[in-house]
Amino acid sequence: MSEKAVKRPVARKDMTKLQWTLKEMRRNYIGYIFIAPFMFIFFLFTVIPVALSLVVSLTNFNMMEWPDFIFMDNYIRLFLDDDLFITALKNTIIFAVITGPTSYFLSLFTAWFINELPPKIRAIITLIFYAPSISGGALMIWQVLFANDSYGWANGWLLKLGIIDTPILWFYDVKYIMPLCIIVSLWTSLGTSFLAFIAGLQGINRSLFEAGAMDGIKNRWQELWFITLPSMKDQLMFGAVMAITGAFGYGGIVTALCGFPSTDYAAYTISHHLDDYGGSRYEIGYASAISFVLFMMMMGSNLLIQKLLKKVGQ
């Protein structure tokens, strides 16, 4: 510490805040150099696009003509004059409300249940549960299981058992599209948050449980609420962010299973609407409004859930 004192003859209290900051900036300038390449790319492809989408959403930009500011017109059109957007909004919320919490609690409880198993068995179960989330290629098996003809697994057995007499067009029937897509989404949803929960549980000091038992914790549920969850609060937050961000982003799975668009737009989500206006029609201004609404939904629910999670164990 004495070396530092020699290097800095003027004490902090003798400097204004600005002087101090400038001095620290000079002293640690290397930090800016180190983050510069990453931050440049991060700003260029994440921060600026978000800001830009807010600005562009107030215009009628279409990549051909010089844009005019039309202010809230895109948003008014979205909410009052675009039935398809309302369908997409409704489906996105249904998807998010069902798959978000379900995948979150599925990840949490599975991680909790396997926590006390021997490490080898735990590793195998972890692999089994995590594998679908990284095997995008295996998604097609659901099309085989729920194929339209009688050679599909579901139809084959339902016909054989006499429950139905004609094959069901699973991924093309409005009645089944949403439930099936939700099931498949859940199948792929035990991802990063699941691993974070496993790690968080492993990191809890076991003596806490023993102390808790002495202090009158009666069953494993009380233990979960009063000891386990509060000890891994940071992981719960991180897992929630991963789950929420994932839950609003569904679209790829629906397109892969049902084609685009799905029958009667039964599983049409905001990200489809975005692709349609941005990718096919080049109504960039309007598409930016859609993406900004999606951005606000994701941020809003993330910040809300963070607030709620702070109450865990209190």
């Binding site: 290629g137 790690a199 038992a213 994701m298």
Partner: protein
Amino acid sequence: MAKRLKDKKMRTRNHEVVLNRSVGGDLGINIFLVIMGLFMFLPMLYTVLQSLKPLDELFYYPPRFFVRNPTLKNFTDLLRLMGTSWVPFSRYIFNTIFITACGVAGQLVFASIAAYALSKVKFPGRGFFFKLIRYSLMFSSTVTSITSFIIISSLGWMDTYLAIIIPAWGTTLGLYLMKQFMESNITDEMLESARIDGATELRIFWAIAMPMVKPAWLTLIIMSFQGLWQSGSSIYIHSEQLKTFSYAISQILATSIARSGAAAASGVIMMIVPIFVFVISQSNIIETMGTSGMKD
């Protein structure tokens, strides 16, 4: 094992269930795990079995789960189907490997040096930058897809590898995990003594910090790899000879049962690599995730 024995000992010694584990609860948990495990595992297994079925077994009615006469014909069919496309099959594989390798390498270099600076160099503003990173985890790239498109096209990167590789370098999850891991696994004292010895920050980063956070950079490599390996069709790439393996394989869809064998074979090829990579690195990933928590 030792942990389990200790549990039992505690139960018997005090003549009460010290760790609050009821037999009913254990049973319920095991039933839950078996049912969920089957739900997760059977589709994966079925993909593998389906890929090994000869044509006549694909047409069994009612469908059979297991394969009677396993064959690799679906895999050779797949190669034949891919051989008929006018871009050579090897070109798709090259594209995927090239994009994945460049994307992962750049992400590793830029994200780890930035993570080091954010966690261990005390420059003013680091809190602000890290907050931005944290917020960026709260929305997906779908949100930025439209305006990124404008930026990439105005940079003139349309129909080049750059459009996929460079944005991948700015992915924040890997940086976030690495920064958190460095924060709790490298003490300032270790770095301080090296600084006093006159080592440059770059040297400290490379020779001291990086070797200590091996699990974190392995995790970063794997996450970045998983994303890029599966990158399929992209709005930025039009030329057939620049498209990826995953795109080429997705063209052989399960449109008919006759093709479902080849489609399953393609699914197996696509999933085997990420799963294998995860298996060999699982313990490192879990270790990294141990510090993934979000503090205020």
